[in-house]
Symmetry: C2
Subunit: 255 residues, 2 copies
Amino acid sequence: MVRNLGVLVATFCFLLGFAVGDWNILNHKRKNGLQISLKNYCEAWRMNVELHNIKDFKVVPEECVEYIKKYMTSTQYTIDSERTIDESRVYISTSCTFKKDGKDAWIFDIDDTLVSTVPYYKKNGVWGEKLNLTSLEEWMKKGKATALDHTLKLFNELKAQGVQIFLVSSRRETLRSATVDNLVDVGYFGWTSLFLRNSENENKNVQQYKAGVRQDLINKGYQVWGVVGDQWSSIEGIPSAIRTFKLPNPLYYVA
Amino acid sequence: MVRNLGVLVATFCFLLGFAVGDWNILNHKRKNGLQISLKNYCEAWRMNVELHNIKDFKVVPEECVEYIKKYMTSTQYTIDSERTIDESRVYISTSCTFKKDGKDAWIFDIDDTLVSTVPYYKKNGVWGEKLNLTSLEEWMKKGKATALDHTLKLFNELKAQGVQIFLVSSRRETLRSATVDNLVDVGYFGWTSLFLRNSENENKNVQQYKAGVRQDLINKGYQVWGVVGDQWSSIEGIPSAIRTFKLPNPLYYVA
């Protein structure tokens, strides 16, 4: 009975919203005769970013800034990310036969993988703006990035299984101490090595730099079971890991 | 004024829907204290399929069958796919310097890339069922697959630029004549070669088979500028194309 009422109200709202709301608010673009709402348009943009069909974008399209801001602070973003981590957990429990010889390795990105930069975007209101590295690094120095709880949980599970954890970030070497403080402060400790960008690798793009780190680890005898990152540049490139897991991130693009 | 009315109605509906509808219909799963609706859950599943974090699924999860059916027949699916094709068009116009020597090549999948299998799922009501190859092939033999209009447009644009078009499908050789008839019937003609699975390559998985075709083309002097497909197995593997474009498809998985 109450369920039926729910269905009725939902249907009524849907139709009413369509009749009155969509007509005015959402009728943003038309194409091939299809009525396309702004939400349709921005959702397609986000999906194609995650499919890696859209590359190298410098900013979120102006008309989708509100939509992306809403997504990045939504339950959906949390659930999407949790599912990514859950899938890596399924892979670990079903397919990883750790050798426990000190050479089992797992790689994590830092920003928007271990910790969130959303507080930076919130504080500075820069959702639709081109990345200002000076301002971002100033914020990073303060060490206020918050943990992404689902990744922290996975981090601890891997640690408990004796897996060596490598953090490979495109943050610069000058941020080492602030980064370590921030990570420890929100609960991350016990990693094996933290790789940051320095004068030796700053001439490479991020994908080359991160693939180079994987190559070094493999040369040292590590088995890289997995990588978790929010950018395709953390995941693509050769050598790869056995499995890779891409967290959603439509907020910025690192080539 | 009318716009404000739209906003008011939308807000009212949102709140009413939340108060009455969500409470009963959508409060499906809880995790870490978050209230997760069935839509949240299924959207996260779909997103992680497209991110290629979820692999090798045999069926759509039972609780998401309605959601995926709705998506695959929605404007959103059309818009998402159109955006994929639009991005390949941007790439072609900005980055492809075709040599016009008869060796410029582009590769397309067939099913859910050139033509849609959604009519099959609709007709047979098999959205949540494991793939029945016999029944699918019977349907394919009838040649009733409909064109995906945005891909047809791209196909014709490439053809007009003198690009050699290769169709690489995991359909079997026995379906050749029905496939050709169906393609021509909905507007596709003028491709250079149609590759189907035969006794020579049926021992390979789809990714190996498709990478093998690309290798053969490269050996013959073709420049493979791009691949458009709806499965990661059409896109991953070495050698790759210069760029690849992944259409959305949460309906089935081809390894």
